[in-house]
């Protein structure tokens, strides 16, 4: 399935004419486009599975472009932002880039630069989405484990021998082996190295593995 086909370029600008021209341009360039006159409209219609990127002006009525960027991040939206603005000083651009914008352009920037920025944004968005999925999937899988299995996993990842695990948990070594098999099956992971990486990633994304 070509996920890219589902990418939508979300354009936010309060100037009607400029908004229309941008929409035309991107449509003609082969992108799916949605237009919004202000940041609030975009945030209102934002769905969790929204994919694509955002092209926004800095000066917007209500929330500014930078505030929109922050709001999107807070909402957990993985759509990168490209800023296209009529004027902009160094402070604004630095702040935008620091907050993770893909690019910062003037309204009269050359077309190739604009298209390239959008393309990068979409690709980055896709990458991050994929990553996001993977982690989500990973956490889901971890949730399949029972408490005891989680405890065992934690000790396995520390590099303990089965015997040590059995002693630590006050169970038979044989039970430990049984657990390990179950873990392997549920997580679909076959080496300890992979297991370890998985756990670390999951922890990085806030999943609780259990125990200490």
């Amino acid at each position: 399935m070509n996920e890219a086909a589902l990418d939508v370029v979300h354009i936010v600008d309060d100037d009607e004419s400029f908004l229309r021209s941008m929409a035309r341009l991107f449509s003609a360039s082969g992108y799916r486009v949605r237009t919004f006159a202000c940041a609030e409209d975009l945030l209102a219609e934002l769905t969790p599975d929204a994919q694509g990127c955002v092209v926004a002006d800095l000066c917007l009525p209500g929330k500014s472009g930078l505030e929109l960027q922050e709001a999107l991040a807070q909402a957990g939206c993985v759509m990168p932002v490209v800023f296209v603005t009529g004027h902009g000083g160094i402070p604004d651009s630095v702040r935008a880039m620091r907050n993770g914008a893909e690019d910062f352009l003037t309204k009269q920037a050359p077309l190739p630069d604009l298209l390239a920025a959008v393309q990068r944004a979409l690709e980055r968005g896709a990458r991050e989405r994929a990553e996001h999925h993977r982690v989500r999937d990973l956490c889901a899988r971890l949730r399949l484990l029972t408490n005891r299995e989680r405890e065992v996993l934690a000790l396995v990842v520390q590099g303990r021998m089965n015997k040590e695990i059995a002693d630590a948990l006050a169970i038979h070594e044989r039970t430990v082996k049984l657990h390990r098999t179950s873990i392997t099956n549920k997580l679909q992971v076959h080496s300890v190295a992979e297991l370890t990486r998985l756990v670390i990633e999951a922890q990085a994304h806030g999943a609780a593995i259990g125990g200490h």
Binding site: D15, S17, F18, R20, S21, M22, R24, L25, S27, A28, S29, C59, G86, H87, T106, K107, Q108, L111
Partner: protein, 724 residues
């Protein structure tokens, strides 16, 4: 004892008693000479009465003659005494007459005693017996000698003298004294004379009885005299009481009074004066001790002052220091006068006051002046500097003490001296604390003649030396410099503010323009893509074109608004001086030029050239052109880093301003384009400066254009209307 004896003896005794009493009085008060005269008269009368008694009981002519001889003496005393009494008590009677009388009688007296007999009773004259008060007494028979003429003419003259004196006293207004004394004495003398003559001529058979009358007259005179003496005593009592009151008053105040009777070497001093003269309790005050007790450096001055008062009279002042009983030094101010109006030589009087407090205050005041951080001068109302503190001397470049005593005008520049004098007099007339020279620029003149700006404040004060003016002076050279620097900076700042405002304006407009321009660009790009597709979406293209047109109009409207805004600012045409406009602008960019190593030059032909224009707007244009020019040459080698700004009359009733630079210049095909908005050769420029300048110049009815400078570079000209 016979009645006659008793009476005559009583007369003699009474006269003698009165004479003695008054002699004693005279001895106690030598000034009252009238008492002596009275005493003489009294003695004379006593002697005469005694001898008169003896004459009446004379046994024979020889004894009578002998007694007559001696009676001349008391008679002489009586007459002399009367004359002198009249002179000294009544202060009347012609002296020459008096001397004549005495002279005659003295002559007679001499003759009398030179011979052996009595001049009134020639030898051989007989005696007669008469009855007086039951007694048998003797009187001389009628006889006549030539000496009688002498004697009695003297008495006659005496009568005249006495009458004349009485008249004088009467005329003086002392009616009582005239009548009583003069009148009775005259009458009696007359009567006596008549009696004597008549007895001697044998007409009257009565002994010479002038004694009683004389006694009566003596008593009357005695009463008169006693009244005068009593008056004198009362006067003395009053004087004493007055002195007491004065002393009391003096002691109540801080003031001391003293009075020095030089002739009699008596000093009266109130208690306070006693202390002020350095006297100690118990010790009598003396001038000599006082002067000797003074400090050596003050003795001369004090002594001189007292001497001047004593010998020249008049009032003199002096200040001196004494050490009081507690060992403290006190300063005393004394006013000394010499009073020569009295009869007894000169009386030196003094009034003293303790001025220690004032002196200390004065000293403290002087210290304060000296300690002041500013220059302070004390000037009297005559314009003479009484004191200048060290700072004042240093400020005006004088040495220590050189300013004291000089006129304050030496500190004022020569040109302003007359006016300064006038102001000084006005100030002295109505002194009030105020800054000097309100509203005027004041200048001071140093000893070496240089002048400097200053600020002065004037305060009138009363000191121990009279009214003075306290003048504090501050050198404001640095302040003036700082003020002018601040003014320049402020001017520059406001200029810069205006320039930056222009920049901000331009920036805001740029943003507004970027919307339609951005839209146009994107639409055009979109159109290109649409055209590349097949089939070509003509509807889409049409929509695009419409949008482009609309946006183009939008952009135009924004620019029109800019123009309108600039034009709408009421261009206030006023006559300006080209020198001012250019020099102000040059002052603002000077820092920028210096920083870039660029030299600026100005040319104004003619120097008086005037323009009609809005000062701020015209300056903006000049500033813009200057900034551009400096920016253009800053990368050039040193000899080309020169910007010239020129203003000249263009012969057409207009003024042309030109800014010439030798920078990289403007390409010939861009010479008009540079005046359009957003056209700039600067990497960080907005491209609005020249556009705005053009708007301003055209609003003034002028033109602005650019030309290449011969030899490389650009020259920007603009024309404005010249001021008439």
């Amino acid at each position: 004892m016979s009645m006659v004896t008793v009476l005559w003896s009583m007369t003699a005794a009474a006269s003698l008693t009165l004479a003695a009493v008054y002699l004693l009085i005279w001895l106690g008060a030598r000034r009252q000479v009238a008492c002596l005269a009275f005493s003489v008269l009294g003695v004379g009368i006593a002697g005469f009465a005694g001898l008169e008694l003896a004459l009446m009981y004379a046994a024979d002519s020889a004894e009578y003659a002998r007694l007559s001889r001696w009676i001349q003496l008391p008679t002489w005393l009586m007459i002399a005494g009367l004359v002198f009494f009249t002179r000294t008590h009544l202060k009347a009677g012609r002296m020459w007459l008096g001397w004549t009388i005495i002279g005659l009688r003295t002559a007679a007296l001499v003759v009398n005693f030179a011979g052996t007999g009595s001049i009134t009773f020639p030898a051989g004259t007989g005696l007669r017996e008469v009855m007086l008060l039951g007694e048998r007494v003797v009187i001389p028979a009628a006889a006549w000698t030539p000496w009688l003429v002498l004697l009695h003419s003297a008495v006659l003259l005496l009568v005249v003298f006495l009458i004349d004196a009485s008249v004088t006293v009467w005329r003086r207004g002392e009616r009582w004294a005239a009548v009583v004394v003069g009148g009775s004495a005259s009458l009696f003398a007359l009567q006596g004379l008549a009696q004597v003559l008549l007895v001697l001529w044998g007409v009257l058979a009565f002994p010479l009885g002038i004694s009683f009358g004389s006694l009566l007259v003596l008593m009357v005179m005695g009463v008169e005299l006693s009244q005068k003496i009593r008056g004198g005593m009362e006067a003395t009592v009053r004087l004493q009481r007055a002195e007491q009151r004065t002393t009391m008053a003096a002691n109540l105040t801080e003031v001391g009074f003293w009075s020095w009777d030089v002739k009699h070497e008596r000093i009266w001093a109130s208690d306070r004066a006693r202390a002020h003269l350095g006297g100690r309790d118990g010790q009598p005050v003396s001038m000599r001790r006082f002067v000797e007790g003074l400090r050596p450096d003050q003795r001369d001055l004090v002594q001189r002052t007292i001497d001047r008062a004593r010998f020249d009279g008049g009032e003199h002042q002096v200040e001196y220091a004494i050490v009081d009983e507690g060992g403290q030094t006190r300063w005393i101010a004394a006013r000394v006068t010499g009073d020569r109006s009295g009869e007894d030589g000169v009386v030196v009087r003094g009034v003293t006051m303790d001025i220690t407090g004032r002196k200390t205050a004065d000293a403290r005041f002087m210290l304060t002046i000296e300690a002041s951080p500013t220059a302070v001068l004390l000037v009297n109302h005559g314009g003479v500097i009484e004191l200048a503190n060290t700072k004042a001397e240093a400020l005006f470049g004088y040495g220590h003490g050189e300013l004291t005593g000089q006129s304050v005008d030496v500190l004022v520049p020569t040109a302003q001296r007359a006016m300064h004098r006038t102001h000084r007099e006005r100030f002295a007339a109505s002194p009030a604390a105020r800054p000097m020279g309100a509203g005027r620029e004041l200048e001071g003149r140093r000893k070496d003649g240089t002048e400097f700006p200053l600020e002065a404040g004037l305060t009138p004060i009363e000191t121990g030396r009279g009214p003075l003016v306290l003048c504090s002076v501050v050198d404001i050279t640095l302040r003036r410099k700082a003020e002018s620097e601040i003014a320049q900076l402020r001017e520059g700042l406001s200029h810069a503010g205006r320039v930056s405002m222009m920049g901000q304006l331009a920036s805001a407009l740029a943003h507004e323009l970027s919307q339609p321009l951005g839209a146009i660009q994107r639409n055009a790009e979109a159109a290109e893509l649409v055209l590349g597709k097949s089939p070509t979406d003509l509807e889409e293209l049409r929509a695009i074109v419409t949008d482009i047109q609309r946006d183009d109009r939008r952009a135009g409207a924004v620019i029109d608004r800019i123009r309108g805004m600039l034009r709408h600012r009421q261009v206030d045409l006023r006559p300006l001086r080209a020198t001012e406009v250019l020099s102000d602008a040059v002052a603002v960019v000077r820092t920028y030029a210096d920083g870039a190593g660029v030299k600026l030059a100005t040319e104004i032909v003619p120097e008086t050239l005037g323009l009609m224009g809005d000062r701020i707007a015209v300056q903006q244009v000049v500033l813009n052109l200057l900034f551009n020019a400096i920016h253009a040459v800053r990368a050039q080698p040193a000899e080309r880093r020169l910007v010239l700004v020129r203003a000249e009359a263009d012969g057409d009733g207009g003024a042309r301003l030109s800014v010439v630079d030798r920078g990289c210049g403007v390409p010939p095909d861009r010479l008009t384009a540079v005046f359009q908005p957003f056209v700039t050769t600067k990497a960080d420029g907005l491209g609005m400066g020249l556009a705005i300048s053009r708007t301003i110049v055209e609003a003034h009815g002028g033109k602005i254009w650019a030309e290449p400078t011969p030899g490389g570079g650009a020259t920007f000209h603009c024309t404005l209307r010249a001021a008439p």
